[in-house]
Subunit: 228 residues, 2 copies
């Protein structure tokens, strides 16, 4: 089996991405980050998802993105609540973390180089947050170009680094249906940006809102129990 | 003054790069990394160099590159000793750290975005280690292209991200002469990959060898006291 690094947050997008990589026959080396996110609960989910989907191994790296700041997910800004899907889709939300995907992909590249892997799977998606600059296809192509210039194997012409983003143009409902077909256990996944004190997903943040809407449109039942 | 992020390891290249940024009128926000390097002694040097050269502030981020491995600087491979400058210049040395510069620049980009800075200064150099893929001009240009696609301001056409690498084609002797002219106190800098138990630079690793040769060719005295 061909090795691939799979970025796994513990959310349903990255869980579905891992399932796709496995279904394509890749040996999955799963990479997660403890980056100071409010919702570090997602790391437990990532661990369970990786095991359930037969990941070869898993590396959790600690990053201090809180020291850099600039985002509601890592800083003092409030997480927006009770916005509609239409409101969420306008502009770049305060939950954008500056250069986070570049930092994540850079580490994935490092690990891929050590593993001798040419493939990285990444659950980027342009549909819901159309404003996230570092989820767009042209951004991912620019990263592939950079990667081939950055590494030993790329320079020697021995490898052609590829960022696979199989979800990039799917709606949330399509992602959920795809994951369902591939056997993803969504009860293991986590999406909420700001869980309640008793550990339930809030049901009101943008991430909960889009998840609920996605399950409704997919005609499937979300196994999570929301606070609201 | 225009803000810039300056990557500072504590070595003489990055110290000279910081001096150049200051001489060009930039307000320097200095970024260093504790990435599991054997020679973490360089971080103390970075602190002193930043203060001496009037950095506005300094951020030290911790990265776990040791968990990724693949390099003599972060792993179990031995640091080569007593190689000649000619031997050092052939191929990619084992002190290459996979994707390290991409990881460093990604963090610099994140901090620049939060600071509203468009400029990053980076002491990359192609002369001594001609084999390091992620020090080449075409690599740095690819990073600039990526950065403009990755960030809010770049997407909105409000900024044009630039990686300044003023040393890229200088010899070590030229770097030392430039730093000397700009008032860099080289006694504060640190280059050795593997200091002795009593805290002196070994004098035998590739980094010590190139530094000694550079001072000799520049006709200047290296203020450091080597073990060998």
């Amino acid at each position: 089996m061909k090795p691939a690094v799979v970025l796994l947050s513990g959310g349903l997008d990255s869980a579905t991405t891992l399932a796709i990589a496995r279904s394509q026959g890749y040996e999955a080396h799963v990479l997660s980050f403890a980056y100071g996110q409010r919702h570090s609960r997602e790391l437990d989910s990532a661990s369970r998802v990786a095991a359930a989907l037969g990941a070869r191994n898993r590396l959790v790296l600690t990053l201090d993105l809180r020291a850099i700041g600039g985002s509601a997910l890592t800083g003092d800004l409030a997480v927006p609540k009770s916005r509609t899907a239409g409101e969420i889709g306008v502009g770049i939300p305060v939950t954008y973390v500056p250069a986070r995907n570049t930092i994540f992909l850079a580490h994935a590249l490092a690990w891929a180089e050590v593993l001798g892997a040419e493939d990285v799977f990444f659950g980027a998606n342009v549909m819901d947050y159309s404003g996230y600059p570092d989820c767009r296809p042209e951004y991912l192509q620019a990263f592939e170009r950079l990667a081939d210039l950055a590494t030993k194997a790329g320079v020697e012409g021995k490898s052609r680094f590829r960022v696979h983003a199989p979800l990039i143009r799917m709606t949330k409902a399509e992602i959920i249906r795809t994951g369902h077909t591939l056997g993803v256990d969504f009860s293991l996944t986590w999406s909420c940006y700001e869980p309640t004190a008793d550990g339930r997903p809030c049901g009101l943040c943008d991430s909960c809102t889009l998840r609920k809407k996605g399950f409704a449109e997919a005609g499937l039942t979300d196994p999570l129990c929301y606070a609201a």
